[in-house]
C-alpha cells in the first residue's frame, strides 16, 4: 500500500520506536522564540545539561514582545540572546532584524520539503506549506529537541482535504481555512496531519499556503501539509541554487515528498470552493464561523492586520488595494504590523506603507503584537477587534475583548466602514 507524505517523512527520519506507536524522529530544525525557550534553557542549566545538539540547525528569534516592554520580557530576551551567543547559534534574529517566527524562518530559506521541524509554538504547522512535517510542541519537547535533536510522535494519521474549483475574487486562503475549520470543528483533526491538495491549493502562492497550514492547529491538527511544486522551488530558489543545477532538478528532488495515490487516509473531505464567500468568526472559538454577509454591520473598535497568519507581503498588497485613497472610519483605530523587516521594506518601496498611513493606520515594527495581547494593541473590556490573526479565544487580545478573525481584505474594508464589511464594496 502507498504512503502519505507524512508517513514518508516519518520513515526517513525514524531514530527509534521504543514502544508501539511511538516514533522518535530526527529533527532537521528546531525553531525557538523568547516566550517558550528561556524556561527550557534555565531548566537545562539547572540539570547541568546546557548543551545544544547542533547550533546550525537551531534558529532563534525574539518576536512575541519586541522591543521588550518591561523587565520581565527584557530578561526573556536576554536569556535567549546569551544562550545563542554561548552556543554559537548564528541564526539569531534580534531587534532590528526580527520578525514573526513563522514568517521570518521560511523567508530566510530555513524550511525545505521533507524536513522535520519543531518549535515551542502551536502555529509551527505553518511550515507544512513547504511539504514539511512541522509541529508545535511544549517546552519539554523543545528542551529534548535542543539537547538531542529528536522528538517523539504517534503515527501520523492523515486527513486529506481536496479543495476543488477556484476561489472567487475577494476570497482568499484565510476564508478557505476558516470555512474548513467551521466544517470539521476545533477538535476535527486532533492528532491528525491535515493534508491540503486540489486545484485551489495548486493555484495558491506559497504565502497563501502558509495561511492555510497556519490554522491547522485551530482544528487540532498536528501539522498542515501541502505537496512541494514549482512554486515551492521558485520560493526557495535563491537558497538552493547552489545545490541543484536547475529548477527542474530541484523539482525532481522535491517531488518524492508527495503522497502516493493509493495512500490510506483517516478521512478525505472534498470541498468545491467556487462559491465560497468571505468568512469571519463570531464567537470565542475558531470554528464558530459565518459568512461576512451574515455578520455585516457589526461595529468594531480596532482593526489589526499582521501575524503569522496574514502579515505577509501578499496580505499587505491585498489590504492596501482596498484601502487605497480611503480613510478609516472615525469610530475605529487600526494597526498594521508587517510580519518581517523584509516585508516592511518591500511594502515601503511599493508605496503600501503610505497607503496604510494615509488611511489612518498606525504601522508598528514586525512583532506578534496584538495577536496575543501580550504587548501592544490590547483591547479594553467589551471592545471588538477585526483581526487577520488566527485565534479568537476569550481574553486572547485582552480580557473581556472580542476578536473576529477574517482575511486582510475584509479587515481593510471593515476599517473603512467601522463595521464588518465585504471588501467587494470597495473594489474598483
Amino acid at each position: 500500500m502507498g504512503k502519505t507524505i507524512a508517513e514518508k517523512i516519518f520513515e526517513s527520519h525514524l531514530v527509534d520506536k521504543p514502544f508501539e506507536d511511538t516514533f522518535v524522529l530526527k529533527l532537521d530544525r528546531v525553531f525557538c522564540h523568547e516566550i517558550t525557550t528561556p524556561i527550557a534553557i534555565t531548566d537545562l542549566e539547572a540539570r547541568k545539561m546546557d548543551r545544544v545538539f547542533d547550533p546550525d540547525k537551531i534558529k532563534v528569534v525574539i518576536d512575541h514582545v519586541t522591543p521588550a516592554k518591561d523587565s520581565k520580557t527584557a530578561l526573556q530576551g536576554k536569556i535567549l540572546r546569551d544562550w545563542s551567543r554561548r552556543h554559537g547559534i548564528k541564526d539569531f534574529f534580534d531587534i532590528g532584524r526580527n520578525g514573526v517566527c513563522h514568517a521570518i524562518f521560511p523567508e530566510k530559506g530555513f524550511v525545505r520539503p521533507g524536513f522535520t521541524i519543531i518549535m515551542g509554538d502551536s502555529h509551527t504547522c505553518t511550515h507544512g506549506a513547504f511539504g514539511t512535517f512541522a509541529a508545535g510542541v511544549g517546552t519539554t519537547d523543545l528542551e529534548v529537541g535542543i539537547l538531542k535533536g529528536v522528538c517523539a510522535f504517534k503515527f501520523p494519521e492523515t486527513v486529506k482535504f481536496v479543495l476543488k474549483g477556484a476561489l472567487k475574487p475577494g476570497v482568499y486562503a484565510k476564508d478557505a481555512i476558516l470555512f474548513i475549520i467551521g466544517q470539521i470543528g476545533v477538535n476535527g483533526a486532533t492528532n491528525k496531519v491535515m493534508e491540503f491538495t486540489g486545484p485551489v491549493v495548486d493555484g495558491m502562492s506559497m504565502e497563501s499556503r502558509m495561511t492555510l497550514c497556519n490554522m491547522a492547529i485551530e482544528a487540532g491538527g498536528t501539522s498542515g501539509i501541502c505537496y512541494p511544486d514549482g512554486k515551492t522551488v521558485d520560493y526557495l530558489w535563491e537558497f538552493i541554487s547552489d545545490e541543484y543545477s536547475s529548477k527542474e532538478e530541484a523539482f525532481k528532488a522535491f517531488e518524492i515528498w508527495k503522497s502516493d495515490s493509493d495512500a490510506s487516509y483517516d478521512a478525505v473531505y472534498e470541498y468545491d470552493l467556487s462559491d465560497l464567500e468571505p468568512m469571519v468568526t463570531y464567537d470565542y472559538k475558531p470554528d464558530m464561523v459565518k459568512t461576512v454577509r451574515e455578520m455585516e454591520g457589526i461595529p468594531v473598535d480596532q482593526i489589526y492586520i499582521g501575524s503569522c497568519t496574514n502579515g505577509r507581503i501578499e496580505d499587505l498588497r491585498i489590504a492596501a488595494e482596498v484601502l487605497k485613497g480611503k480613510k478609516i472610519s472615525d469610530n475605529v483605530r487600526a494597526i498594521l504590523s508587517p510580519a518581517t523587516p523584509k516585508i516592511y521594506s518591500m511594502a515601503l518601496k511599493e508605496g503600501l506603507i503610505e497607503v496604510f498611513q494615509d488611511a489612518g493606520f498606525c504601522v508598528t515594527n514586525p512583532t506578534c503584537g496584538a495577536c496575543l495581547g501580550m504587548s501592544n494593541g490590547v483591547l479594553a473590556e467589551g471592545e471588538v477587534c477585526a483581526s487577520t490573526t488566527n485565534r479568537n479565544f476569550y481574553g486572547r487580545m485582552g480580557k473581556g475583548g472580542m476578536v473576529h478573525l477574517m482575511s486582510p481584505a475584509t479587515a481593510a474594508a471593515t476599517a473603512i466602514s467601522g463595521k464588518i464589511t465585504n471588501s467587494s464594496l470597495y473594489k474598483g
Partner: protein
C-alpha cells in the same frame, strides 16, 4: 513519581483552551511557581471562580478537547504548582496531552459515557478520586457513592510518568 489522588474539580465544558488555563500575559514569567495565582483566571464557565474553587484540588475532570490552542507548557505547569497532577477528559488537544506526560503528569482519556456518568453522579461538591496506574483505573467517591472507571494508557505514556517526564527518559536513551 508524583501522587495522583485527592479532591476533584469538575469543569463542565468542552474545548477549554490554554489561554483560559493560563492567559498569555503571564507568559513573561520564567518560573513555574509564579504562575500559581493565575490558573484558570480567564475560564469562561458560569459560577466558576478560580480564586475560590481551586483550593486543595488535586484532580480535574472535564469534557472534550481539553487544552486546545497554544502549545504553552505553562498550562500543565500552572496545574502542577497548584498541586493538580491529573486531568481526566473525553479527549485532549495533542500538545497539551503530550506536555502533561512530558512533565510526568497524567492526562487520562475516558469514554464519553463514563465522562457523562462522572458528571451525573459525582460532580456535586466533595468528590475524591485516586488513579491506580497498575490497575489502569480511577476510583472515585462522593458521599456514599463510589465507582471505578477503567482507562487505557500507552506504554510510552506510562514510561514517561515513571521516568518523571521526557527529559529523564530521553537523556538516558538518545
Amino acid at each position: 513519581m508524583k501522587e495522583f489522588k485527592g479532591k476533584v474539580l469538575f469543569l463542565d465544558r468542552s474545548d477549554i483552551n490554554t489561554d483560559e488555563i493560563i492567559p498569555a500575559k503571564y507568559l513573561t514569567e520564567i518560573t513555574k511557581e509564579a504562575l500559581k495565582p493565575y490558573l484558570l483566571e480567564d475560564l469562561k464557565l458560569p459560577a466558576f471562580d478560580s480564586s475560590r474553587d481551586l483550593k486543595d484540588v488535586r484532580i480535574v475532570i472535564s469534557r472534550a478537547n481539553f487544552g486546545c490552542g497554544s502549545s504553552r507548557e505553562h498550562a500543565p505547569w500552572a496545574f502542577e504548582v497548584n498541586g493538580i497532577n491529573v486531568v481526566i477528559a473525553e479527549n485532549f488537544a495533542r500538545i497539551f496531552r503530550q506536555n502533561m506526560f512530558n512533565c510526568g503528569m497524567c492526562a487520562i482519556e475516558l469514554k464519553k459515557d463514563d465522562i457523562e456518568k462522572l458528571f451525573a453522579d459525582y460532580s456535586s461538591t466533595g468528590a475524591e478520586a485516586e488513579i491506580d496506574l497498575n490497575g489502569n483505573c480511577i476510583i472515585i467517591k462522593n458521599g456514599g457513592k463510589s465507582g471505578k472507571f477503567s482507562f487505557e494508557m500507552s506504554e510510552y505514556d506510562k514510561a514517561l510518568v515513571l521516568a518523571g517526564g521526557w527529559v529523564g527518559f530521553a537523556d538516558k536513551k538518545y
